[in-house]
């Protein structure tokens, strides 16, 4: 079982940064706007406006490319016994 933990206090502008999102060979990540409001476009540079999610975890191979590329050291990957599906 592979687990990815993302420290949101360090990863504050994932949509603007997008390094892990574009690098991941298995496209495991997802970036989502925290709040979608009527008549308002969310600013990618505003800290906390988007959050990063490791959604497609059954596709993760544990290569740790995301851990290495993260400029904020916000991603933690752990490997335990068992499969992700």
């Amino acid at each position: 079982m592979i687990k990815i933990e993302i420290d949101a206090s360090k990863c504050t502008t994932p949509f603007a940064c997008k390094k892990c999102l574009q690098l991941c060979p298995q496209a495991v990540f997802l970036v989502v706007a925290v709040k979608v409001e009527k008549f308002k476009e969310t600013d990618p540079k505003e800290p906390g406006s988007y959050f990063l999610l490791a959604r497609y975890m059954d596709k993760c191979t544990g290569c740790e490319d995301c851990v290495k590329v993260c400029p904020e050291k916000a991603i933690k990957l752990t490997v335990e016994e068992g499969s992700n599906g």
Binding site: P14, F15, K18, L21, Q22, Q26, A27, F29, L30, V31, V32, A33, V36, E37, K38, F39, K40, E41, T42, R55, Y56, M57, D58, K59, N84, G85
Partner: protein, 287 residues
């Protein structure tokens, strides 16, 4: 006939039936009234169901199989059920439907935005399109239409589709809720690829079929016309095309083929034909 056409085609293909492009522009609500069908958010509902299926795949394979079986029942699709219905269409089919709806509004791709943080900020980059009158009120939700939209007439929309087809994207026709006639409302036309399309990924990786139904055709190689250049192999988004080394020709697994026609439109030798899915006994019910 394809079951969606059977139910909503009125004698033709469902996406050539003009009734499925009609929609109320506004609904009048009493204060406090919860919006019904037209106000619900098909993407969010489908996303929740896919989320449950994905979690089950990782934690409980038996539950996963059960959820997939339930979600793939035909009456789970919009407008009868909660799952967003979409079907693979060829470039020619996509061009035909441009004559039935207005406007075709180019916009950014929501899937690539979520999965790769891809930004598409102008008419040259927009790879997705919203269809019909609903798009005229896009400005209410600027985050959903990030960077704005670009309204196209039928001719420009056809050119736009051809451009994305050349680049190697297949076309997926999306529905959003119900039209006044009770059929699915055709509201989106996407240019898609794996793995950054949520619908294709939902089907190939997690088994959710209604999000990306196969199209009306199946691709077939003419081995005499084919010169083995291999261009088609790069264009398949479904893993249906391999290069058969011994034969020095491509091989299409027709059970995996979605009939999008990308290999057909990209072939310099015109060596790939599209045959009607329903002409093949083993595939005619495989949508």
């Amino acid at each position: 006939m394809c079951w969606v056409c059977d139910e909503y085609g009125d004698g033709t293909r469902w996406f050539l039936n003009p009734q499925n492009y009609a929609r109320f522009m506004y609904t009048v609500k009493r204060p406090g009234e919860v919006p019904k069908e037209y106000g619900s958010d098909p993407e969010a509902q489908s996303g929740r169901i896919l989320g449950e299926i994905m979690t089950a795949k990782m934690q409980d394979p038996e539950k996963w199989a059960e959820l997939v079986k339930k979600a793939n029942q035909r009456d789970m699709a919009f407008p009868k059920g909660p799952i967003q219905l979409a079907q693979t269409v060829t470039l020619d089919e996509a061009k035909q439907l441009c004559d039935l709806t207005y406007p075709v509004a180019g916009m950014f791709c929501l899937c690539r935005y979520h999965m790769r943080a891809q930004e598409e900020t102008n008419e040259h980059e927009y790879s997705c399109a919203g269809l019909g009158v609903g798009m005229l009120k896009w400005e209410r939700w600027p985050e959903r239409y990030k960077g704005g939209v670009h309204f196209m007439d039928a001719d420009e929309a056809k050119e736009w589709l051809t451009k994305w087809d050349k680049a190697g994207f297949m076309h997926l026709l999306m529905t959003f809720g119900a039209s006044p006639s009770g059929g699915p409302y055709v509201g989106g036309l996407c240019n898609c690829s794996y793995p950054d399309c949520g619908a294709i990924r939902g089907r190939l990786d997690y088994g959710l079929e209604l999000n990306a139904l196969k199209g009306h055709y199946v691709a077939k190689v003419d081995y005499d016309l084919c010169n083995g250049c291999g261009i088609c192999v790069q264009r398949c988004q479904f893993g249906a095309l391999k290069f058969e080394v011994v034969k020095d020709r491509p091989n299409i697994d027709q059970f995996r083929c979605f009939g999008c026609g990308l290999c057909h439109s990209g072939c310099p030798q015109n060596a790939i034909t599209l045959v009607e899915r329903e002409s093949l006994p083993a595939l005619k019910e495989a949508w």
